[in-house]
C-alpha cells in the first residue's frame, strides 16, 4: 500500500490539473476577500478576516469534482489501473490509496485557500469578530466537508470507470447538492410567524398582526430536513459560511464518508475491468 500511495502522490505532484485547480481556488478566495473589503468600506462596516475566510467553501466542491474525476478517470482512460491490478494489488487497496491521495489533495486546496484569504485579509487590515476556538472548529468541520466530497467523487470516478461520465456526474451532483442545501436552509431559516406590511399611496406603512408562516416547517419534517442539511457537504459548507457549526457535524461527515466509501468499494471490487 505504501508503494501505491507513493506512486499516487508522485503523480499528483506532477499533475497539472491539480495545480490549476489549486491556483484557481486560491485566486477566487483572494478576489472574494478583496470584494468583501470593498463592500465593507463602502458601507462603513468593519472588515473582518473571519467574515471572508469561509465564503468560498461552498464552491470548492466544483474544483474537487473536476480534479478527482479527471485524475482518477485518467487511470481508466489509458488503462494504467490495469498495471496496478496486474502488479498484484487488491482492488480494495487500490480504492483506498486513490481515496487517500484525493483526500490529501482536497485538504491541501482547502488550506491553501484559507491561507491565501488570511494573508490577503491581514494585508487589508482586517480584524476578527469570531473567537479563535470557533474558527478552529469551523476549519475542522470544513476539512470534514472536503473529505466527504473526496469520498463521493472517488466512488463515482472508480465505479463509473469513464472519465467524461465521471466529470459530468460529479459536477451535476455537486450542483444538485448545493441547490438542495440552499433550499433546505431557506426552509429551515424561515420565520415561524410573519406579518404583512402595506404601503399606502400617501406613503404610510401599515403592519398587520403577525400570523403563522405557511412555509415554516416543524415536527418530523423539520428534523428530517435538519439531518439532510447536516449530511450534505454543501449544507455544512453554507452553515460554515454563516460561521455556525459545532463538532457534531464531523460525525455526520464521518457517516457519509463510511457509507459512500463502503458502497464504492463493494461495487469496485465486484466490477470487471476492461
Amino acid at each position: 500500500m505504501r508503494n501505491l500511495l507513493s506512486a499516487g502522490f508522485h503523480r499528483l505532484v506532477h499533475y497539472r490539473l491539480f495545480w490549476i485547480t489549486l491556483i484557481g481556488y486560491v485566486v477566487i478566495c483572494v478576489i472574494k476577500v478583496v470584494d468583501d473589503y470593498q463592500i465593507s468600506t463602502d458601507l462603513n462596516n468593519e472588515f473582518t478576516i473571519d467574515g471572508s475566510l469561509f465564503n468560498m467553501l461552498p464552491i470548492i466542491g466544483f474544483f474537487l469534482a473536476v480534479l478527482t474525476s479527471i485524475f482518477l478517470g485518467d487511470e481508466f482512460r489509458g488503462g494504467p489501473i490495469r498495471n496496478k491490478i496486474i502488479a498484484g494489488y487488491s482492488r480494495n487497496v487500490i480504492y483506498c490509496c486513490n481515496f487517500i491521495v484525493m483526500v490529501v489533495a482536497a485538504i491541501v486546496e482547502l488550506l491553501a485557500g484559507y491561507l491565501a484569504s488570511f494573508i490577503m485579509g491581514l494585508a487589508l487590515g482586517g480584524g476578527y469578530s469570531t473567537n479563535g476556538i470557533q474558527i478552529v472548529v469551523l476549519i475542522m468541520i470544513s476539512i470534514g466537508v472536503v473529505v466527504v466530497y473526496s469520498a463521493l467523487f472517488t466512488a463515482i470516478a472508480l465505479v463509473l470507470g469513464r472519465r467524461t461520465a465521471a466529470v459530468t456526474t460529479c459536477l451535476i451532483i455537486t450542483g444538485l447538492m448545493l441547490f438542495s442545501a440552499i433550499l433546505i436552509i431557506g426552509r429551515l431559516e424561515a420565520p415561524k410567524q410573519i406579518s404583512d406590511m402595506y404601503l399606502a399611496v400617501d406613503g404610510t406603512v401599515t403592519e398587520e398582526e403577525p400570523h403563522d408562516n405557511p412555509l415554516y416547517v416543524e415536527g418530523t419534517q423539520r428534523q428530517v430536513l435538519t439531518v439532510i442539511q447536516k449530511l450534505l457537504p454543501t449544507g455544512q459548507a453554507l452553515r460554515i459560511v454563516q460561521r455556525k457549526g459545532s463538532l457534531d457535524l464531523l460525525m455526520y461527515s464521518l457517516i457519509v464518508i463510511v457509507f459512500v466509501t463502503s458502497v464504492g468499494m463493494v461495487i469496485f471490487y465486484r466490477r470487471d475491468n476492461q
Binding site: N3, R11, D74, G79, P80, I86, S90
Partner: protein, 303 residues
C-alpha cells in the same frame, strides 16, 4: 514439461453469453505461445482473466503452479501484460511512465530504467508526452512498463494490430530478443497468422471460447503437408493422370492443381506429357499456418 500458465475448464459468462467455454490451455516455460482465434473467440477475455482484471465464472488457472487467489495476486508480479491498448499515462513522458511503474512496484531505485527505454527503442524521445506517441511507440512503451518488474512471463494482446510494416518488424525483433536474450516466456494473442508463424514456438487455437488444439511449431510443421503446385493447360488430362498414378490432388483453378505425397517429378511430367498436358510452371509448397488454421477452425467470416 514445466508450464508457466495452465488453465483448466475456465468459463467466463456474461449474462447468457459464454465468452470462455471450458477453456484449457498450457503455456510451456520459455515458449513464445501464439494464441490464435477469430475476433470474439475469447482471446482477450482469457488474458483479462489471467491478468486478474476479471474473475472466471468457473474453472481454475495457475501461474507457475500457484492456484490460490491470494497467492496469485503475489505471483502476478512475475508477469507483465499489455491488454488491448497499452496502459500508459498520456500526460507523462516515456521516462515518467516508467518511473511511475517503478514506484507502483516499490522498486528501490530507477536502476535499469535507461536500459528498458533503450531495449524498446524509446531512449531518444525525451520529454515528449506519451499521448503524442505513434501507435507503435505506445505499444513499445506499454511493453517497457510491463517489463519493469523484470517479469519472466509476458502476455501481449494483439501487439501488432494497427502497426505499420516497420512497426511490425520492430515488434517482432523485440519479442524475439526478450525471449532469446532474457528467457522471457511470451504469450501473444493474434489473428495475424503470417506474423505469428514467424515468432511462435507453440500454438493454441481457440474458437467460441474453447481450445480446439494446442500444438508445438515442430508438430505443426510436421502436420502441414507438402505439395507441388502445377500450372497446366489441360485440367482434364491432369485428373486422368492423377487417377492413373494414384496420387492425391486438389484442383485450385482451371489451370492450377496441388499434388500431395512423395512424387517423382520426372515420372509425373512424363505421365502428363503422355496425356497431352503441358506444364507451364511447377513449385513446391508447404501448407501454411493459415491453411492449417482454416482446416482446423473452418472459414469463419472474420478469420
Amino acid at each position: 514439461m514445466e508450464y508457466v500458465l495452465t488453465t483448466n475448464q475456465v468459463v467466463k459468462q456474461y449474462k447468457h453469453f459464454k465468452a470462455l467455454n471450458g477453456l484449457s490451455l498450457h503455456v510451456p516455460k520459455g515458449a513464445i505461445y501464439g494464441f490464435v482465434g477469430k475476433n470474439g473467440s475469447g482471446k482477450t477475455t482469457l488474458i483479462r482473466v489471467i491478468s486478474g482484471l476479471q474473475r472466471p465464472t468457473s474453472g481454475e488457472y495457475s501461474l507457475y503452479g500457484v492456484k490460490s487467489t491470494r497467492q496469485l495476486s503475489r505471483i502476478r508480479r512475475r508477469m507483465g501484460a499489455v491488454v488491448e491498448a497499452p496502459a500508459i499515462y498520456g500526460d507523462m513522458s516515456a521516462r515518467e511512465n516508467l518511473k511511475q511503474q517503478y514506484k507502483i512496484l516499490g522498486m528501490p531505485s530507477y536502476e535499469g530504467l535507461d536500459e528498458l527505454l533503450k531495449l524498446v527503442g524509446l531512449e531518444d524521445v525525451g520529454k515528449k508526452k506519451a499521448k503524442h506517441f505513434s501507435l507503435g511507440m505506445k505499444q513499445r512503451l506499454g511493453i517497457a512498463i510491463a517489463l519493469c518488474g523484470n517479469p519472466d512471463f509476458l502476455v501481449l494482446d494483439e501487439p501488432i494490430n494497427g502497426l505499420d510494416p516497420q512497426g511490425i518488424i520492430e515488434m517482432r525483433e523485440l519479442i524475439l530478443k526478450l525471449n532469446r536474450e532474457r528467457q522471457i516466456t511470451v504469450m501473444i494473442s493474434s489473428h495475424i497468422l503470417d506474423e505469428l508463424s514467424r515468432l511462435a514456438t507453440h500454438y493454441g487455437f481457440i474458437d467460441s471460447g474453447c481450445m480446439v488444439k494446442e500444438i508445438s511449431a515442430e508438430e505443426l510443421s510436421d502436420a502441414c503437408r507438402k505439395c507441388i503446385r502445377l500450372t497446366v493447360n489441360n485440367m482434364k488430362a491432369v485428373c486422368m493422370t492423377m487417377e492413373q498414378l494414384g496420387l492425391e490432388y486438389s484442383v485450385i483453378s482451371d489451370e492450377q492443381v496441388d499434388v500431395y505425397g512423395e512424387i517423382s517429378v520426372t515420372k509425373l511430367t512424363m505421365a502428363l506429357s503422355d496425356n497431352h498436358c503441358e506444364i507451364s510452371s511447377l513449385s513446391e509448397r508447404d501448407e501454411s499456418l493459415e491453411d492449417y488454421y482454416m482446416n482446423l477452425i473452418g472459414g469463419g467470416s472474420h478469420a
